[in-house]
Amino acid sequence: MKNRLRELRSQRGWSQLDLADRLDVSRQTVNSIENDRYDPSLPLAFRIARVFQMPIEELFEDSEET
């Protein structure tokens, strides 16, 4: 699943560590999500949406969608 985490984080001038701290996850988790190697759980996806104050569907893109 593609996501806009890296782009949105950079816009806000946050490091991966800053975002990890806000989400209460490890820096590696943020890195894995940004690299599309790990899809977050639904509760974490909602936390990410709250941190960026955006709806989930604007953060994640369903790669199976045609």
């Binding site: 560590l17 996850v25 490890s26 590696q28 988790t29 894995s32 790990y38």
Partner: protein, 132 residues
């Protein structure tokens, strides 16, 4: 590699708890072995002989507490690494078993522990690489 203060605290707590349990294990093991050596006839040896289990239970408790504090990716990585270690260890045990049937000298069961630990390390490396 730098991590959030909460995760650094959690890792430190785990290391302290596990190290405490291991130190206790070291302190208990030798006196227990000596006591059993000099009290071979005592019925109490069955209970005293199990005393080193107490620190190992504490170590297991520290590991479970750490597992509860992990974030979801770390938990997934650990679970995958353990699944790999379990499967690979089972294959190793079966391989050695078949080789023993063919005439290989019997190995101590402690080698299973060594095999499991090694396969856990390999599994951890694989999952780290997968989610890097």
């Amino acid at each position: 590699m730098a991590d959030t203060p909460a995760h650094v605290r959690s890792s430190r707590q785990y290391i302290l708890e596990l190290a405490g349990a291991m130190i206790l294990y070291g302190l208990v093991l030798i006196p227990v072995a000596r006591w059993i050596d000099s009290n071979r006839a005592s019925e109490l040896r069955w209970i005293v002989g199990l005393l080193p289990l107490v620190p190992t239970i504490l170590a297991g408790w520290a590991i479970l507490r750490f597992f509860e504090r992990m974030d979801e990716l770390a938990r997934k990585q650990l679970t995958e690494a353990l699944a790999f270690a379990f499967t690979a260890s089972a294959l190793l045990v079966l391989t050695v078993g078949f080789l023993e049937t063919a005439g290989l000298d019997r190995l101590s069961v402690w080698w299973i522990w060594v095999g499991m630990g090694s396969m856990w390390l390999v599994g951890s490396g694989i999952t780290w690489f997968r989610y890097r």
